[in-house]
């Protein structure tokens, strides 16, 4: 019983942290695109620059994809956990009622 609310905490906590990551991601993206060009334009302008740019780009897309997938799952997990907690609360209430009924019979 007591680990159920813990589960909800974990799910919503994870979703919030993923949301933070979604806010930071564009900042990281823009820095990783701008800084090398300001820092060493000659190295990133030609053939090696093309390799750098397209690898970085692919990594960014992958990161966004993974993040969005994780966010969607986290949202689904949060909803599920909430539903489970609601169920658990329902069960607890039911058992309590049952118990009080039995007590009532005994009296």
């Amino acid at each position: 019983m007591p680990d159920r609310p813990l589960f909800l905490e974990r799910a919503s906590f994870r979703r919030r942290r993923l949301g933070d990551a979604a806010r930071v991601l564009p900042v990281i993206a823009v820095l990783s695109v701008l800084v090398p060009v300001w820092w060493m334009p000659r190295e990133v302008s030609f053939a090696s620059g093309a390799v750098w740019l397209f690898c970085l780009w692919a990594a960014m897309i992958l990161a966004v994809w993974l993040l969005h997938r994780a966010l969607l799952r986290a949202e689904a997990a949060t909803l599920r956990a909430e539903a489970e907690v609601a169920d658990a609360a329902g069960v607890a209430r039911a058992t309590q009622e049952e118990r009080s009924e039995r007590n009532g019979d005994a009296l």
């Binding site: 949301g19 993206a29 823009v30 695109v33 740019l53 780009w57 897309i61 969005h68 009622e97 009532g104």
Partner: protein, 890 residues
């Protein structure tokens, strides 16, 4: 490839597009929008960002400036990396307000101001016209590649030269057909979007096919390609051009990032055509992936074109001339279709977006202003007028593009137009971001920021690009474009923020600001209504915009929501706000606001109204709180009711059991009475036997009577109808009488009586007869059931404080086993064999009822070495009065 085949293939492709758009519109009309709403279709439609300028121009750009071409794609990638919290919010807010265009968004945010929207429309039109010309030119140039290759005669050249006109006419037709079908409350064009998604696929496939052909067909794979790129950049001229300039790099990424949300066509597909914000989950990574795929092969194509094609070949057309020169006619045709798709999709969406803006912010307000009549007297069909205005605007936009194309003529002048359009629309970004994130942003600030940005853009970027004026001399090493972009955007932002800080927004604006920044439904404000007689004029006005059916449907639904039948809902603020927002979806926020105000006769919102709104919000919050409390209260009541119901059910079961037991108890003596009286009727009985049987009958009848007496007694006690005969009684006397009376029970048994006489003299106010009944009952029970060989009956009386007394009566028998102690006070709860007890089992039940009436209690005391009962008496019964003072007393 023969030119005729090209034209025929091209026409077939156009017919396919018309067919797809038509089919999608039909499917949408039948309500089959599930696959039309698929996130992939949405993502593909976003690729309208890749116009012919990027399709053809990227390679030319890359061959001149190397990796810098990628800035145009990197900006959107960064923006879409923030899709989860940034774009989703933009789409949610825009859908909430039924925004029809970027100009409408800004106008709605800043107090539904039409002049602001008209100004943004102006910059959009100025920026887009050369851009559209660029698309027409790219189609003409791509035709010419084939025309000069295969049919150099004048006639075909003439056709090719006129392609601009033909293409413009075809595009205008397509746009008018599928872009102005209806004036729905949500401006969505399924046909156009689906056709554009298909064109996006064609673009991508064409470009990927060409790239794969170049890297693996012309070169020897990626490694060889990289070596070729490295070799090409050994040339100092190329190396100089390819060297990335950090200021340009930053400025262009910034501008591209701004353009992807502010360009009218991007806003149209990304925000207006989106069903909800959820499709950005897929588009967030899929659209950057599309851009990645579109740019992956740009550098290889540019380098290979330089290597293989003559030095005077136009790099902007490498994508066409490279496969054509290698004899890959089919590939060249595919690429041609890709470029054609890019150009046409851009023109179509751009025309729809601009036409919406022009009609909603220029033509309709102007028309309504011109024909200002008393409210309710306008009868003309506004819907037809708005649609015609849009058709006219589409013709004007595409026509202006064509005229510009014909007038400018030169290719070089147009090539820069893509960036010019981007930088122009980027001037909207500070106002838009500020409007969405800062409640303090106001209309004056928006005018100031946007006005300065617009002016600087005209001076520094647009006019120099068309050859009028030029950028002032800059120090060595500073890029003019980057400088202009930074100056215009910085001053724009500074002016916007400064004026906003010192300005004071009007109330409507503050309401809208709250709604936009917090992404919540706008709060309803209570307009002063002229009365409910305005419902009909409002319906008439709405009919003029949407047509009769749609208007009646909306009004009926609203009336039904208010619980009314018919078509005329009450003029609640709620209804007016909803109607205004739905109308805004067709004609823009500012016009809808003005029209509703005119017909419904609202008065201007004041600051005190705003405060009232705040009060209302507070009240609504309190109301919610109250409702929540009421809900939990209800839940509690429900629990109580359930408990009561359970108790009642249990009582009903008890009652049935009681009836069953009573019947049984009555039947036993009755049976013996009947049996013995039958025997008495037989003639040959001795007198002795007769007497014995009569005796039995008499005893059984006595038992019946006692039972009935007990039952009557119990029922009187339980119903609370007992009249107490209150008086002062000495417990000692009562105990004496009880012992005397009980000695008749099993007189053969001799009990040792254990009493403490001095302590028994306690006076209580009670009903002495009733209390005596209880005492007799308990003492008789002891006499009946005590099974000790030398029975002892003990009685102890204790005075209680502050008043009352306790009587303990105990014996030295076996007592009552623990499990059954709770049962002994129930009716018919006889523990042992009934024949032995001879009672009906009602005695203790009656005692309990009597004690309850007397305000006291009788309880079994466990662990006293035998059966023990404790009778507790109060100083006086509750509510009771002394004998003689009760009304109705004998």
């Amino acid at each position: 490839m023969p030119f005729e085949t090209l034209v025929a293939g091209c026409l077939a492709y156009v017919v396919l597009m018309f067919g797809v758009a038509f089919a999608a519109d039909r499917a949408a009309a039948r309500g089959r929008v599930r696959w039309l709403d698929h996130p992939l279709i949405y993502t593909l439609s976003l690729s309208v960002y890749c116009s012919a300028w990027t399709f053809y121009g990227a390679v030319g750009y890359a061959s001149r400036s190397g990796l810098e071409f990628a800035t145009i794609y990197l900006g959107p990638t960064v923006v879409f990396a923030g899709a989860w919290w940034g774009l989703r919010r933009l789409v949610r807010v825009a859908r909430m307000h039924h925004v029809t265009s970027i100009a409408d968004l800004i106008s709605a945010r800043f107090g539904k101001s039409n002049p602001l929207a008209a100004l943004i429309t102006l910059i959009a039109v100025i920026a887009a016209t050369p851009y559209i010309a660029l698309q027409l030119q790219s189609v003409r140039l791509s035709f010419e590649v084939f025309a000069t290759d295969d049919a150099p005669d004048a006639a075909l050249n003439g056709v090719a030269g006129g392609t601009g006109l033909w293409v413009a006419a075809g595009l205008a037709l397509f746009t008018i057909l599928f872009g102005t079908r209806n004036l729905a409350a949500d401006e969505r064009h399924h046909g156009v979007v689906t056709a554009i998604a298909l064109e996006a696929l064609v673009k991508l496939l064409a470009f990927l096919a060409l790239g794969i052909f170049v890297v693996w067909g012309l070169a020897d794979g990626p490694a060889d390609m990289l070596a070729r790129i490295a070799r090409a950049t050994d040339d100092p001229v190329i190396a100089e051009g390819w060297l990335l300039k950090p200021d340009r790099w930053t400025a262009l990424i910034l501008v591209a990032a701004a353009a992807v949300v502010t360009l009218p066509r991007m806003f149209q597909v990304m925000v207006v055509e989106a069903a909800d914000e959820d499709r950005l989950h897929v588009a967030g990574w899929a659209f950057p992936a599309y851009l990645f795929a579109m740019s992956l092969f740009v550098l290889p194509i540019a380098v290979m074109g330089r290597e293989l094609l003559p030095a005077d070949a136009n790099p902007d057309l490498f994508v066409l001339t490279l496969p054509a020169a290698s004899g890959q006619n089919l590939l060249a045709f595919l690429v041609f279709l890709g470029g054609f798709s890019a150009a046409t999709s851009m023109v179509v969406v751009c025309a729809i977006a601009l036409a919406t803006m022009i009609s909603n912010h220029w033509i309709v307000p102007f028309w309504l202003g011109l024909r200002r009549r008393p409210a309710g007297e306008d009868t003309e069909d506004l819907r037809g007028f708005v649609l015609n205005a849009r058709r006219l605007a589409i013709l004007a936009v595409v026509g202006a593009g064509w005229v510009y194309h014909e007038a400018s003529g030169g290719a070089a002048a147009l090539a820069a137009m893509g960036l010019v359009a981007f930088t122009g629309m980027a001037q909207v970004l500070p106002v838009m971001l500020g409007g969405l994130m800062w409640r303090g942003a106001n209309r004056q600030g928006a005018y100031a920021g946007f006005g300065i940005g617009f002016a600087l853009w005209m001076l520094l970027i647009f006019l120099p690009s068309v050859g009028i004026g030029k950028v002032p001399e800059l120090p060595q090493g500073v890029d003019p474009l980057a400088f202009s972009i930074f100056v215009a955007l910085t001053l724009n932002t500074v002016a916007f923020i400064t004026v906003s800080i010192f300005g004071l927004p009007d109330p409507v604006e503050r309401l809208q600001g709250l709604s936009f920044v917090s992404a919540v439904e706008p709060i309803r404000h209570s307009r002063m209504m002229r009365g409910d007689d305005r419902a009909e004029p409002l319906l008439a006005m709405t009919r003029r915009v949407w047509g009769a059916d749609a208007a009646l449907r909306f009004f009926q639904a609203e009336a039904a929501a208010q619980g009314k039948s018919g078509y005329l809902p009450d003029m609640t603020p709620n209804f007016l706000t909803r109607l205004e927002r739905r109308l805004a979806g067709s004609i823009g926020a500012a016009t809808a606001h003005a029209m509703i105000d005119r017909v419904a006769g609202g008065v201007a919102l004041t600051v005190s109204d705003l405060l009232e709104v705040a009060d209302e919000a507070q009240r609504a919050k309190e109301e919610t709180q109250r409702l929540e409390n009421a809900t939990s209260e209800l839940a509690r009541t429900a629990t109580q009711l359930r408990e009561a119901n359970d108790k009642l059910t249990a009582l009903s079961v008890q009652k049935d059991a009681f009836l069953g037991q009573i019947s049984h108890e009555l039947r036993t003596p009755m049976t013996s009475v009947r049996a013995f009286s039958e025997i008495l009727m037989t003639p040959d009985l001795s007198e002795e036997e007769r007497a014995r049987f009569a005796g039995i009958i008499h005893a059984e009848a006595g038992r019946l009577t006692r039972l009935l007496d007990d039952l009557l007694d119990l029922s009187v006690l339980e119903s609370g109808g007992t009249q107490l005969q209150l008086g002062v009684a000495n417990l000692h006397d009562l105990i004496d009488r009880a012992l005397d009376a009980a000695s008749a029970t099993r007189p053969e048994r001799v009990f040792t009586i254990d009493r403490d006489l001095p302590s028994e003299h306690v006076a209580v106010i009670t009903d002495a007869d009733r209390l005596l009944q209880v005492l007799i009952n308990v003492v008789s029970n002891a006499r009946k059931y005590c099974d000790a060989a030398r029975p002892v009956l003990g009685i102890r009386v204790r005075r209680l404080h502050p008043g009352g007394a306790q009587i303990d009566i105990f014996d030295n028998g076996a007592g009552i086993e623990a499990g059954r102690q709770a049962l002994i006070f129930e009716k018919f709860a006889r523990l042992n064999d009934p024949s032995r007890a001879g009672g009906a089992g009602l005695g203790l039940a009656i005692c309990r009822e009597i004690m309850a009436v007397l305000g006291g209690d009788i309880a079994y005391l466990p662990g006293q070495g035998g059966a023990a009962f404790r009778i507790t008496l109060p100083a006086r019964p509750p509510g009771g009065t002394l004998r003689g003072t009760l009304p109705g007393q004998e």
